[in-house]
C-alpha cells in the first residue's frame, strides 16, 4: 500500500457521493489532528487500520477489534468513538483526533501528566484510549466527580487494573482546575 502522506488544500478533499467506491483501493483524504492527509485504502479499511497502517499513527491501539475494549478510542468531531468499528471511508472530511494530536513528549496534555503523576499506567496498552476518553470528559466537564470519571472510562478494559489510579488522576485534575480558576 502506498502511503503518500502530505498536506493538501481543502479543495482536494474527495467527497463521497452516489458514486460506487471499491472494492479495490481508492484515494481518500482524512483530516487527522488538524492535518489533511491523503491515503490509499479500501472501503473495508477501518479508521483504526488507516491510522495505524497508512498514517503510521500507532498510538491508537487495537485489542479486541470489536468495540468491546475501547483501546482504539479516538475523537470523531470531538466525541470519543471506537475507531475499530468505523470505516475510514465514512469519516472523510470529518475531524479526527488521535493521542498524537493531544500532546507529545515535550508538550504533554494535562491528563497525560496527571496519569504519570498518579501512576495510572502499568503495561500502557489501554492508556492512549483511556487518555482520550478522560481528556474528552475534562473538556466538557471540568468539575469532575467519581461517578463521571467511572462512567467515562466504563468502556475501557484494563487488564492491569489501573482504574482506581485513573480516577485519582482525573479527580486531582478537576481539583487543580477549580483552584486555578479561584
Amino acid at each position: 500500500m502506498s502511503d503518500k502522506t502530505h498536506e493538501t488544500g481543502t479543495d482536494q478533499i474527495i467527497k463521497p457521493s452516489a458514486e460506487i467506491f471499491g472494492p479495490g483501493t481508492i484515494s481518500m483524504v482524512l483530516n487527522v489532528n488538524g492535518i489533511l492527509q491523503s491515503i490509499e485504502m479500501e472501503p473495508r479499511t477501518t479508521l483504526a487500520e488507516a491510522l495505524r497502517t497508512s498514517l503510521k499513527l500507532t498510538g491508537t491501539k487495537v485489542a479486541c477489534n470489536h468495540g468491546a475494549c475501547s483501546a482504539c478510542t479516538v475523537w470523531l468531531d470531538d466525541l470519543p468513538v471506537a475507531a475499530c468499528g468505523i470505516l475510514a471511508i465514512e469519516v472523510v472530511s470529518r475531524k479526527i483526533t488521535t493521542i498524537e494530536g493531544l500532546g507529545d513528549a515535550d508538550h504533554l496534555h494535562p491528563v497525560q501528566k496527571s496519569f504519570i503523576e498518579h501512576d495510572a499506567i502499568q503495561c500502557g496498552f489501554c492508556t492512549p484510549g483511556m487518555v482520550m476518553s478522560c481528556a474528552a470528559l475534562l473538556a466538557r466537564n471540568p468539575h469532575l466527580g467519581v461517578e463521571e470519571v467511572e462512567t467515562a472510562i466504563s468502556g475501557h478494559l484494563c487488564r492491569c487494573g489501573t482504574y482506581p489510579h485513573v480516577v485519582q488522576a482525573m479527580l486531582s485534575l478537576s481539583a487543580e482546575q477549580e483552584a486555578d480558576h479561584g
Binding site: 452516489a18 458514486e19 460506487i20 472501503p43 470489536h66 468499528g85 468502556g155
Partner: protein, 346 residues
C-alpha cells in the same frame, strides 16, 4: 472482513431501492448457496453490529449502502400534539442527554444510558440498536449452522444456555432480544415509522413490531426487504405518567443485561394505576410483557405487597432451560424494584 463496494444513498427511498437483502436475510442465505449471499447489498447506519458481523464472517455483502449521513433521518423533535419523534439515526448519546426525553420518558433514557459503552453510544443509532441481531453465541458462531440462520438445529437447548430465554423459549429457538431500549419502548407504547423503495410509508405499533420464533424462526421483527426505519415516535406525555427501567448484568458497560425490566403506568389522583405495562428484557425472544404482573398492578394502589406479588406472578409462568434458572430470582427482585421506582418517581 471481505472486500466490498461502498455507496452513499441519496435518500431513504434510494437506500431502500438499492438494498437487495436485509442483514438477517444475508445471514440466512450465507448458510446456503455461497453465490447468492455474496451478491447482497445491505443498508448500513452506524454499523456497530453490521461491521462486527462482517468481521466475524457471518455476512459478506458485495456492497454497503450507507445511510448514516442522511439529514432527514436525524434529530429529536417535539410534536405539536405532544409526544416526540426521534430520527432513526439519532445516536444513543444524543438521546441520553436530551432534556425533554429525560423529563417525560425516564424509562427510555435510563435504558439507553445503560446500553453499550460511551464510545458505542456516540456512534450507535436508535434504529440500529433495535435491529441488531441477537447475541446468542451459536447464532454468532460461524461454526454453528443454527436454526435461526437456516440450519436445522438449535444448539442452545442441549448446550450452554445461561444467557438464553426463560419465557416463550420452546418454539425451536431460545434467543433473548438484544435491544435494551426496546424493553422501555414497548412499555412506553412507541411507534416505528418506516419507508420502502416505492416511497410507501407505514407506522407500526411496537406491539406488532417484534416477532416470536413461533411465528417466524428467522426474523426478529416485521421489517421487509428494502424497508427501513425512519423514526421512532413516543406518545404524548401526561403528568400522571410514571415510568422506570432497571437492569442487572455481569458488567456495567458493553454487556447485555441478564435481566431487565421497564415499567409504565398512569397514576390517578387516588393513586390507582392504569394503562399498566411491565416489560421484561433478557427474558424472551422479544421484549416481553409480563401480563400476569400487569393484572395485579392494574387498578390497584402500589405498595410493597402487590409489587412483590406482581413480581412473583411474572416468574411463576417462566420455563427456564438447563442453565438459566438463576434468572428467575434476578427478575423477581428487579420487577419488584422497578415497580417501586416508577411509583416513587416524580
Amino acid at each position: 472482513m471481505e472486500a466490498f463496494e461502498w455507496q452513499q444513498a441519496a435518500s431513504p427511498e434510494n437506500a431502500a431501492s438499492l438494498a437487495t437483502h436485509t442483514t438477517t436475510e444475508a445471514m440466512l442465505s450465507a448458510q446456503g448457496t455461497r453465490a447468492a449471499f455474496t451478491q447482497a447489498m445491505l443498508i448500513k447506519a452506524g454499523g456497530v453490529d453490521l461491521i462486527g458481523l462482517m468481521k466475524d464472517g457471518l455476512v459478506s455483502p458485495v456492497r454497503l449502502i450507507d445511510i448514516n449521513h442522511l439529514p432527514e433521518l436525524q434529530g429529536i423533535s417535539e410534536n405539536a400534539g405532544g409526544g416526540f419523534t426521534i430520527g432513526a439515526l439519532t445516536t444513543l448519546a444524543q438521546i441520553a442527554t436530551h432534556a425533554g426525553l429525560m423529563k417525560h420518558y425516564p424509562a427510555f433514557v435510563q435504558a439507553v444510558t445503560t446500553a453499550a459503552s460511551p464510545q458505542i453510544r456516540n456512534r450507535a443509532t436508535l434504529a440500529g440498536n433495535l435491529l441488531q441481531r441477537p447475541r446468542c453465541w451459536y447464532l454468532r458462531s460461524a461454526a454453528h449452522h443454527c436454526l435461526r440462520k437456516g440450519g436445522e438445529h438449535c444448539f442452545a437447548y442441549a448446550g450452554d444456555n445461561r444467557y438464553h430465554a426463560i419465557l416463550a423459549n420452546h418454539d425451536g429457538c431460545a434467543i433473548v432480544h438484544p435491544s435494551t431500549p426496546a424493553t422501555a419502548l414497548l412499555a412506553l407504547q412507541a411507534q416505528i415509522e418506516s419507508v420502502s423503495a416505492n416511497g410507501v410509508q407505514r407506522v407500526i405499533s411496537i406491539d406488532d413490531f417484534f416477532v416470536l420464533p413461533s411465528i417466524d424462526l428467522h426474523h426478529e421483527n416485521v421489517l421487509r426487504t428494502g424497508e427501513l426505519i425512519t423514526a421512532i415516535n413516543l406518545p404524548a406525555p401526561h403528568h400522571t405518567h410514571r415510568s422506570a427501567y432497571l437492569q442487572l448484568g455481569e458488567k456495567t458497560a458493553f454487556d447485555w443485561p441478564l435481566a431487565a425490566v421497564a415499567v409504565f403506568f398512569a397514576i390517578d389522583d387516588k393513586g390507582i394505576c392504569q394503562q399498566t405495562r411491565i416489560v421484561l428484557g433478557g427474558a424472551a425472544p422479544t421484549p416481553w410483557r409480563a401480563r400476569e404482573a400487569e393484572r395485579i398492578i392494574e387498578g390497584s394502589k402500589i405498595d410493597q405487597n402487590n409489587a412483590r406479588s406482581a413480581a412473583e406472578a411474572a416468574i411463576a409462568v417462566a420455563t427456564p432451560l438447563s442453565g438459566n434458572a438463576y434468572k428467575l430470582p434476578l427478575l423477581c427482585t428487579l420487577i419488584n424494584r422497578t415497580i417501586m421506582k416508577a411509583a416513587t418517581s416524580e
